[in-house]
């Protein structure tokens, strides 16, 4: 998928350079959408989903101390 992202961006830059703005914007939009999709895929964890439980460690420690 990363290859598709860079391919779309290169196509966008290339098309814009040769004076084809509409297809260039279309390629850029595809590149943007693929980037967002790939980002969500990369950060998703089967255990935690999109959460970041390691950032709650301080609160958990405080709760353990109080408890």
């Amino acid at each position: 998928m990363m290859v598709a992202v860079f391919m779309a961006l290169l196509l966008a830059l290339l098309l814009d350079r040769v004076g084809r703005p509409a297809p260039a914007l279309m390629a850029l939009a595809i590149g943007f959408a693929l980037s967002v999709g790939l980002f969500l895929f990369e950060i998703y964890s089967p255990e935690d989903g999109f959460r970041m439980p390691w950032l709650q460690s301080a609160r958990d420690v405080a709760a353990a101390v109080v408890g």
Binding site: M7, L10, D16, R17, P21, F32, S35, W54
Partner: protein, 188 residues
């Protein structure tokens, strides 16, 4: 009032500013590639997405020089700036707490690792666009000075070449599958 002295000055300043941003981005992307090829630091997937976001910002700026001043060009650049910020912040938070199997990828530059630098770059970009719009406004006269247009064309060619090299590099590193930082898949 297009054509009057203040608006032409504003347009020239606007173009010079955007050219400067484009040059800085090209330098940052070049530095990332030097770190990759000369120092053997294989980029992680989120690092590659940050590069992609920077190419998107470059696209928006290059459109400005091709089409004349327009909010659309700056909007494109800002959208990719926000993408850069989101990806960089998430990557910074991913490794911010020491735990097994998680450490910042690559070496530190001036004490900061690459994702942290990316956050600073994204914030600086968005802040620069905000200051530009606040100071110069969004309705500057179209038509950049020829030397600035030529410089933008030259830098645009360089950015295009950088993007092409990055594409080849991604193909070698990831193939058509998922990217990893262990090495270059096609060279194993």
């Amino acid at each position: 009032m297009p054509g009057t002295a203040p608006s032409r000055l504003a347009a020239t300043l606007n173009d010079a500013f955007l050219l400067l941003v484009l040059g800085v981005l090209a330098a940052i992307l070049s530095a990332a590639m030097v770190l990759q090829y000369a120092f053997g630091e294989v980029p992680c997937p989120l690092c590659l997405l940050q590069r992609a976001a920077m190419f998107g910002v470059c696209f928006g700026i290059l459109r400005h020089f091709r089409d004349g001043a327009s909010d659309r060009s700056i909007g494109i650049a800002q959208a990719f700036g926000v993408l850069l910020l989101v990806v960089a912040v998430r990557q910074t938070l991913l490794d911010i707490a020491p735990r097994p199997g998680h450490a910042y990828v690559g070496s530190a530059v001036l004490g900061l690792h690459m994702p942290v630098w990316s956050v600073l770059i994204a914030v600086a970009l968005l802040l620069a666009f905000a200051v530009k719009m606040a100071v110069l406004g969004g309705d500057v006269a179209p038509g950049a000075a020829p030397p600035l247009v030529w410089a933008a064309r030259l830098l645009g060619g360089y950015v295009l070449a950088l993007c092409a090299v990055n594409l080849v590099s991604v193909v070698v590193q990831c193939g058509v599958g998922q990217c990893h930082t262990m090495g270059y898949r096609l060279l194993e």
